[in-house]
């Protein structure tokens, strides 16, 4: 297909977005061409600003615009509670539930010997000293429920248990809205382990 040069460049750039193929990229490109110049500049600026102005919190590793993120600098949050997650986007997902009001710690990964990621790469010593110097009483480990996430949780539990904090693992169970019949064995056996009185 023959495109004018700049259109081709735009479509190519857009196909780099996750989940955007050639067709969707074309649609977005024509949408942008139909927008006013100001609107297009505003969209482009939003991207550049986000990239330039967002970094990671010095304390917890969440996305932040200054040295301290909005969670760490919020005095209304429960500073007895710390939730450990793998990625900054996990913080946003937990926030969306509106159920959690404690602090966070982002590991930026999980123990992955195949990628050469060990305890040092995850800077776990920083997590330990953060807990030591704080009023945290409970650490909730919310790493992914896969082998890497589970092994990381186990490692963390052993590292943190000697400190005087309660270490808990986020519960595993059946996804809401499904049928038990379709659950895989491992999920089902973990759901049994994690049963509770009603």
């Amino acid at each position: 297909m023959v495109y004018p040069g700049h259109l081709k460049k735009l479509v190519e750039a857009l196909t780099r977005f996750p989940g955007i193929g050639q067709k969707s990229a074309q649609r977005i490109a024509f949408y942008l061409l139909g927008c006013s110049r100001e609107d297009v500049v505003a969209i482009a600026r939003a991207m550049v600003d986000a990239k330039d102005k967002l970094g990671f919190c010095q304390t917890c590793g969440s996305l932040a615009e200054t040295d301290l993120c909005i969670y760490c600098s919020d005095s209304k949050r429960d500073n007895n509670l710390l939730c450990v997650v793998q990625e900054p986007r996990d913080v946003l997902v937990l926030e969306r539930t509106g159920q959690y009001s404690g602090l966070y710690h982002v590991l930026h990964g999980a123990l992955s010997p195949l990628d050469g990621i060990g305890p040092e790469e995850l800077k776990l010593d920083r997590l330990v000293s953060r807990i030591r110097e704080s009023e945290i009483r409970e650490v909730i480990i919310a790493t992914n429920p896969n082998v890497e996430g589970d092994a990381t949780a186990g490692y963390l539990a052993r590292l943190l248990n000697p400190l005087s904090v309660r270490v808990t693992r986020i519960a595993f169970g059946l996804p809401v809205g499904g049928d038990i019949e379709y659950a895989d064995d491992l999920t089902l056996s973990r759901a049994l382990d994690g049963r509770r009185v009603i």
């Binding site: 195949l114 589970d150 379709y182």
Partner: protein, 244 residues
Amino acid sequence: MEQRMFKADGIVLRTRILGEADRLVTLLTLEEGKFEAVARGARKIKSKLAAGVDLFNYGHFTFHRGKTWPIITGQDTIKSFSCFREDPDLYPYGIYMAELSDRLISGEQPCAEICRLLLEGWKLLGEKNTDRFLLCRSFELKLAHISGYSPHLHSCTNCGSEKALAFSPRQGGLMCSCCQAADAIKMDPGTAAVARRLIKAPLSQSSLVRLSDSQKKELACVTAAFLTYHLDLGEIKSRRLLAE
């Protein structure tokens, strides 16, 4: 014409994220050798496939031939080796065996023997009285043996003298003091005997071998150097995280 659907019994050696919600899984199968396959939607919490395509899983798989990779259409777990999820000390050992096997097998050559060795190795790692150090050395030597490289451990590789006290990774065996190779590493006859035994005896008997701390060190150096030289493995990243 090639069948569009096929089946294989395989082990998940490695998994990585593909696109938004899919996983690209490296499988070691008894029937079809090693290949990559796509597990669609396996990152989603409600995915039926997710648990079955996680690391260390051994199961029956069914596939559909896709454009680039086969697509996994079904999976039934035979054994999930959950010991590696539960014990963070054991986890790097399981990964180490997987990484070695992965590096050693280049393509879709049949590799049932390596599959069985890996399954046996993982099973033994999960058992209480296993000596992880000896099991790993035995695993390394057996892998090399299956691939057609066994170190020469009876006498000097060069002249046949029985008074060989060093090992040359390049020559692939023991060296006497007269023949000396530039890359020779110290290896006493006791250590060489242990290595011979580890190659010959079943994996399950590796923990029965007795050796001193200095022999342990020698054995670790020799096997690592031998594997690196002959099997062209490059850097084994998970080795650094073993507690040795």
